[in-house]
């Protein structure tokens, strides 16, 4: 019998039972909750007259709908304030721990889980947010769910799930200078498209992945949903253990040793078989930038937007609509295109390493006058660390503003909206029409490419500065 994949080992261990001819009942180790996708689920529990089954396996934060300025003041937007307050009331009523606004552990749900050591290898983790796949970087099964499923997990600590197929994407070799993990994942999505991994759970592997830090790995797993995958994961190794060790909720002492022994068994067996495998060379990857209105419409920064005749016939209408929205011409070069806004932050690139990379790039330079830049840390802990390391000072000296933590302009639920028709280079995860505000035009890129654009005021190859 063939060996097991990382995914299968964790999945099999968590199956409570299987519905005949149907899905499995999967036990959930950790449930993250936020203000936007939970109120209807709590209301459902109330209607049924039931409790949160395991509140100690549930943790909540407010992140999507909060301002990034003046967090000590009441939220001005009435609906946002109501929703954030509702979360607090619900958590109080149902006994769920809440790291709400101004709590020292508050931040974007996919930033705080890992930094608090709540996210650990071998777990099943869900949240009513598609970027829950981020936590897979620790070698866990983590995926986004809808609100009915949020209620399901609250009520039963289990989820009815069909077992997805498995895919392994191998990236071998060394990355070029100036190429970072964001570029790897944008490259993969540009190759397979936004539906390329639909129905699959993806394991990212290969020497280029193994050499990445935990935060860089999180960026890759974070965007696995953008290739359609149910989730993404990376085998836990010494880098993983080193990151988890000593964090607030990480196991300690004998418990830690026991956990380590278990975690070391998790990586896919050598003879494990995946339903699909894809192979790429790290050396082929350039700094990436998107030109269209989905994350699959990305190219190496030195390349040009495809010509209409290079696009598959059935997709041409969609491509034209996208070009019209962006006001780009097929065949245009990306280098030199004007940039009005730069956003650094989100669950994709709002961690300390991202701020460090951005700050070291812009240190001693000046922000271009035509650019408005928002640098938004992913959590209060990231903010505090940036302060401590002198990053805030470097940013301010170069003319940048560091805001307070939250999801911010990634989805523009709060006031951080890119104005209509403006071009933004964003380190976030989605360039959909209107994602960063009605009529906003988003180009996704790494923190380095964002830094190069912020300094020059136009799309610039970050390698020119290295």
């Amino acid at each position: 019998m063939a060996g097991k994949t990382l995914f299968e080992k964790i999945w099999d261990k968590h199956v409570v039972t299987k519905v005949e001819g149907g899905p499995s009942v999967l036990y959930i180790d950790r449930h993250f909750v936020h203000e936007v996708t939970s109120p209807q689920a709590f209301a459902g529990l109330r209607d049924r007259g039931i409790q949160v089954r395991r509140p100690e396996k549930t943790v909540a934060t407010a992140d999507h709908n909060i301002p990034t300025l003046g967090q000590d003041q009441p939220i001005r937007d009435e609906l946002s304030r109501f929703q954030v307050n509702k979360l607090a009331q619900n958590c109080e009523e149902f006994g769920v721990d809440l790291y709400g606004l101004n709590h020292k552990w508050n931040g974007i749900v996919h930033v705080i889980g890992p930094e608090l050591g709540i996210t650990r290898p071998g777990m099943t983790i869900v949240c009513g947010d598609s970027h829950t796949s981020t936590h897979g970087a620790f070698g866990s099964i983590a995926f986004g769910i809808g609100t009915s499923e949020v209620e399901m997990v609250m009520a039963t600590q289990t989820l009815l799930q069909n077992k997805p197929r498995t895919m392994r994407i191998n990236i071998e070799g060394d990355l070029q200078n100036g190429v970072v993990s964001k570029d790897i994942v944008l490259y993969i999505i540009s190759q397979i498209g936004t539906g390329g991994a639909t129905g699959y759970f993806v394991e990212f592997a290969g020497s280029a992945i193994r050499s990445l830090s935990m935060e860089a790995r999180m960026t890759i797993c974070n965007m696995s949903i953008e290739m359609g995958a149910r989730g993404g994961m990376i085998a836990p190794d010494e880098t993983t253990f080193e990151y988890v060790k000593g964090r607030e909720f990480a196991p300690k002492g004998a418990e830690w040793e026991k956990a380590l022994t278990e975690w070391r068994q998790l990586p896919s067996d050598e003879d494990a078989v995946f339903d699909k495998e894809l192979n790429y060379k790290a050396a082929d990857i350039e700094p990436m930038i998107t030109y269209g209105t989905n994350p699959g419409m990305g190219i190496g920064i030195s390349q040009s937007i495809p010509k209409l005749e290079d696009i598959e016939k059935s997709t041409q209408a969609t491509f034209k609509k996208s070009m019209q929205y962006m006001d780009f011409q097929p065949g245009d070069a990306m280098i030199g295109k004007k940039v009005d806004y730069v956003f650094v932050g989100s669950c994709t690139n709002g961690r300390i390493e991202d701020l460090r990379a951005f700050a070291s790039f812009i240190k001693g330079k000046k922000k271009a006058d035509n650019v408005t830049a928002w640098i938004v840390p992913g959590s209060h802990q990231v903010e505090a660390q940036a302060e401590e390391e002198g990053i805030r000072q470097i940013l301010e000296e170069a003319g940048f503003e560091m805001r307070q933590p939250g999801c911010s302009a990634c989805l523009a639920m709060n006031d951080d909206k890119i104005p209509e028709g403006n071009y933004a280079v964003s380190t976030s995860n989605r360039n959909f029409e209107g994602r960063q505000g009605p009529g906003a035009r988003t180009m996704l890129a790494s923190p380095l490419t964002a830094a190069a654009a912020a300094i020059t005021g136009k799309i610039t190859d970050p390698r020119d500065f290295l």
């Binding site: 899905p23 996708t37 809808g146 609100t147 009815l160 539906g195 059935s314 989805l411 989605r430």
Partner: protein, 197 residues
């Protein structure tokens, strides 16, 4: 709590021949501040449907009285992006009972099924035929028969079968809900917890 049953549906269609329609288009994030499930239908496809002042855009299909019905027919990879169930609530709230496409994003598919909205996945060829038939005659109807897992383009009689998980099919046919099912197997969950905690 029971969901709406889905057995058989005969209806005209609303065509949306665009690929990769993401959940940010179905319901933009700024409308996610509500704390109930109701009212999202008014903002379905808001940025395609209304101009800045909130007036209907004439060229968008939902504002075109030529087309109506309970079936939305959309280009491939429908529902990609965010996990927001609000997308399914908006489609159901508007009055659709089924979405036909050649490919659906995973989370959207689950969310739809949990709200009595049937995602019908057909071949690219069948989808193209559907678009052409609707363009030719906006009154062209389809019949969706869940029990027999069959969709038929009535003017031509051309039909195709579609897949659905047998458990989910049973839920939709009977209006059963997943949470009731899971609450009923509480003993098994408890036993699992005892063995693993």
């Amino acid at each position: 709590m029971p969901i709406d049953k889905f057995v058989k549906l005969e209806s005209t269609c609303v065509p949306l021949p665009i690929e990769n329609v993401d959940t940010d288009q179905i319901i933009p994030a700024r409308f996610l501040k509500a704390t109930t499930r109701e009212g999202f239908g008014d903002n379905l496809f808001a940025d395609w449907r209304y101009d800045k002042s909130g007036n209907p855009k004439k060229d968008f299909v939902l504002n075109d009285t030529t087309y109506s019905g309970k079936v939305l027919v959309a280009g491939q990879n429908f529902g990609s992006g965010s996990s927001r169930e609000h997308a399914a609530w908006a489609i159901v709230g508007y009055g659709f009972k089924a979405v036909v496409s050649s490919f659906f994003a995973d989370i959207f598919k689950n969310n739809s099924l949990n709200n009595g909205l049937l995602p019908v996945q057909v071949s690219k060829e069948f989808l193209e035929e559907l678009f052409q038939a609707i363009e030719k005659d906006p009154q062209a109807k389809v019949e969706i028969d869940l029990d027999n897992q069959k969709i038929t383009l009535l003017p031509t009689g051309k039909s195709e079968s579609f897949d659905i998980n047998p458990y989910k099919k049973k839920c939709l046919l009977n209006g059963f809900d997943d949470i009731d099912y899971l609450l009923n197997i509480n003993d098994e969950i408890e036993a699992w917890e005892k063995a693993h905690d």
